[in-house]
């Protein structure tokens, strides 16, 4: 018998003796505090975990902030979904595959989650660009902030890439003598640039006509 058959056969034999339990249904938020607005909730949770949030309400404001912030770096890694007009605001982007040499990067979130303060990062935006730069700026469309994680997962399940990352703050570890340190492997500084509803600049790469290679 193959390992597969062996495993399934022993489960089937023992299962006969187990009282079947029904699935209890969808996970609810179930917490005493009423949930704040998704945007407010996201900001609270994300900053509590050490992330930073910048709000922009126009594309001009967004561009001004990015131009100034990115002027401090000589190289940049870019997520595939970063709009062309934004890509031009910073220093020369490194080619895909060289993200590890960039001191900072810009990526785009597919969505965000208030309940957990998470940015939902889609593999189609480029996984290296989400992980290798020590400082990461993530563009978030305010209309994509879901109240709960269950909502967010439900919203993307019909169109899943090879991998989704939920990033809920900068990389941390307390493995060295139980002292908290930041930026161990993933980005040590993460800034979510939240574009107010209506700006609508950030659609997922696969939903946009190709703007850059």
């Amino acid at each position: 018998m193959s390992a597969r058959e062996q495993i399934l056969a022993s489960i089937r034999a023992a299962r006969e003796r187990r009282a079947q339990v029904d699935h209890p249904g969808r996970f609810g938020a179930w917490r005493p505090e009423p949930a704040p607005s998704p945007l407010h909730g996201f900001e609270t949770m994300f900053t509590q975990a050490g992330g930073e949030v910048v709000h922009v309400s126009s594309s001009a404001q967004r561009d001004t902030w990015l131009r100034e912030f990115l002027s401090g770096f000589d190289e940049l890694s870019l997520g595939v979904g970063v709009p062309a007009e934004v890509a031009g605001l910073g220093p020369t982007p490194v080619p895909h595959g060289s993200e590890h040499t960039a001191p900072a990067g810009v990526a785009v979130a597919r969505a965000a989650v208030a309940e957990t303060g998470s940015l939902m990062m889609d593999a189609r935006d480029g996984r290296r660009a989400q992980l290798l730069p020590p400082i990461l700026v993530v563009l978030v469309d305010a209309t994509t902030v879901h109240a709960t994680l269950a909502d967010a997962l439900g919203a993307v399940r019909a169109d899943l890439p090879a991998a989704i990352g939920l990033h809920s703050g900068p990389s941390k570890s307390a493995d060295i003598g139980q002292v908290m340190v930041k930026g161990v492997h993933g980005p040590g500084r993460v800034i979510a640039v939240v574009a107010q509803a209506g700006l609508g600049a950030y659609r997922h790469a696969s939903e946009r006509p190709s703007e850059r290679e």
Binding site: R18, H23, L153, R157, L166, I176
Partner: protein, 468 residues
């Protein structure tokens, strides 16, 4: 059968715990402080939500998944294959070793980066890769520390909690050349720099899996450092080793488990990085592994599943909350337990995964205080399962000769009223202070305690005279 490995030694638990307490008393301080911190954070995190409701829900989803496990495993396999992943089934550690060997040979793998996985510790993957001439690098900071030290993990969530900052300074000074007074940030930066090269050079990344959603074929992984995301994103090949009990039915179920596990383990609302992996890189993606292999591992889990009491332990999400609160674990940390899973959860799954013979005396390494069941996110009745294994030990005649003799003599006495009364009389007139100090075991107990003075009359005499 399961646990073919030779290095696991739960049988030496008594000597090993005595040795830890005697020779390395600082371990108790490090473990005590880390576990108390974890536990305080968990308490706070549970209080922020309706944790009773969360735990009921999680218990039910796991029980549902386990009572339909064959169906969900098959569904998960189909979904993963449809996503382009390779699915393998392994009965034992040997099966896993053979599979890894085939991948290593086919792809000429020289360096492997590893994301913390207790299953890979259980399967002794690193030692096997070593025999194949493959360099395997643990990338979780805690795992990296213990790999450099040549030690096994001492806690399922914080593998290096038995090591102090001073220990890490000395280690990193030797291995990475950092100054002896380096602060933790400098130490972490040195490790990051060293490991970055390994991530970029590795051909293969090996991870575990916290959960597998059957409907979408999603492997979910929880962490805080970002090393798991890198391990599963940068190398050409990714192998995920997952126990067959890790299945949850639906993708949306992950919402509950990711949050509850993080709250139970470290008191966080969610791990700072979560990976939800469906399969290999797709045509419209610029990076990610070209091959993803998912291995469903038994290695003794079906033996647990077949036990009508112990199967409940398969709900475990490996959060470590039961270790953090356990007064016995807190004394020694995990090394004394002699294998991958320590503390209360280790004691209840060892008899299934290693066989009862090899697991003894772990089910006895507990005072049955019940603190663990109060914190467990999936409500595993840990003390009941400990008692279950103790009963099985007796039923199968695996308890010690001394214990069996003592029980048999007591039974004989209890069946003969006159002998029972004579024995009681004799006990009441025994000079316990002197005798106790002369006997093994009791002498240790009596160092701190005084034996009570026996009543001049037996209970039976008092009963006969009439109790007022």
């Amino acid at each position: 059968m399961s646990g073919n490995s030779s290095t696991f030694r739960p049988a030496s638990y008594r000597e090993a715990s005595a040795r830890t307490l005697r020779d390395t008393p600082e371990v108790r301080d490090s473990v005590g402080s880390a576990t108390r911190t974890f536990d305080a954070l968990r308490t706070k995190a549970y209080a922020e939500v309706d944790s009773d409701r969360w735990r009921d829900w999680a218990q039910d989803v796991k029980a549902h998944a386990l009572t339909h496990l064959d169906e969900y495993l098959e569904q998960a396999e189909q979904s993963l294959v449809a996503n382009g992943a390779h699915v393998h089934w392994a009965s034992s550690a040997d099966d896993v070793h053979r599979l890894l060997e085939a991948i290593v040979v086919e792809h000429e793998v020289r360096t492997v980066v590893k994301a913390k996985s207790m299953l890979s510790e259980e399967l002794e993957v690193n030692a096997h890769l070593d025999t194949l001439g493959v360099r395997s690098v643990e990338t979780d900071l805690g795992e990296y520390i213990i790999q450099l030290l040549g030690e096994p993990p001492s806690h399922i969530v914080g593998p290096a909690i038995h090591r102090s900052l001073e220990d890490c300074r000395a280690l990193f000074h030797e291995e990475l050349g950092t100054p002896m007074d380096a602060d933790p940030d400098e130490l972490a930066a040195a490790a990051r720099a060293a490991l970055r090269g390994d991530f970029l050079a590795a051909d293969l990344g090996i991870s575990g899996g916290n959960f597998v959603a059957a409907d979408t074929g999603t492997i979910a992984l929880i962490e805080n450092e970002g090393n798991i995301r890198l391990t599963t994103s940068v190398p050409r090949i990714h192998v995920a080793l997952v126990g067959i009990e890790k299945i949850v039915p639906r993708f949306e179920d992950l919402a509950g488990f990711l949050q509850l596990t993080a709250r139970a383990a470290t008191g966080q609302p969610i791990g700072l990085f979560v990976s939800l992996i469906q399969g290999p890189r797709r045509a419209d993606e610029v990076d990610g592994p070209e091959e993803v292999h998912v291995v469903f591992v038994d290695n003794g889990r079906t033996a647990l599943y077949e036990d009508d009491t112990a199967w409940e332990a398969l709900r475990c999400v490996r959060c470590g909350a039961c270790l953090n609160i356990c007064p016995v674990y807190r004394q020694t940390g995990g090394h004394a337990y002699g294998w991958t899973y320590s503390g209360p959860i280790g004691a209840i799954i060892a008899p299934g995964l290693l066989g009862l013979d090899r697991a003894l005396p772990l089910p006895h390494a507990s005072s049955l205080c019940g603190a663990c069941v109060d914190v467990c996110p999936v409500r595993i009745p840990i003390p009941e399962l400990l008692v279950h294994w103790r009963e099985r030990t007796v039923e199968e005649g695996r308890n010690s000769v001394g214990e069996r003799l003592a029980m048999r003599s007591y039974a004989e006495l209890a069946e003969r009223p006159s002998a029972f009364s004579t024995a009681g009389e004799a006990l009441r007139w025994t000079p316990w202070r002197a005798v106790g100090k002369a006997l093994p075991v009791l002498s240790g107990w009596m160092q701190e305690r005084e034996a009570p003075t026996p009543s001049p009359k037996s209970f039976r005499d008092l009963w006969r005279e009439g109790i007022e």
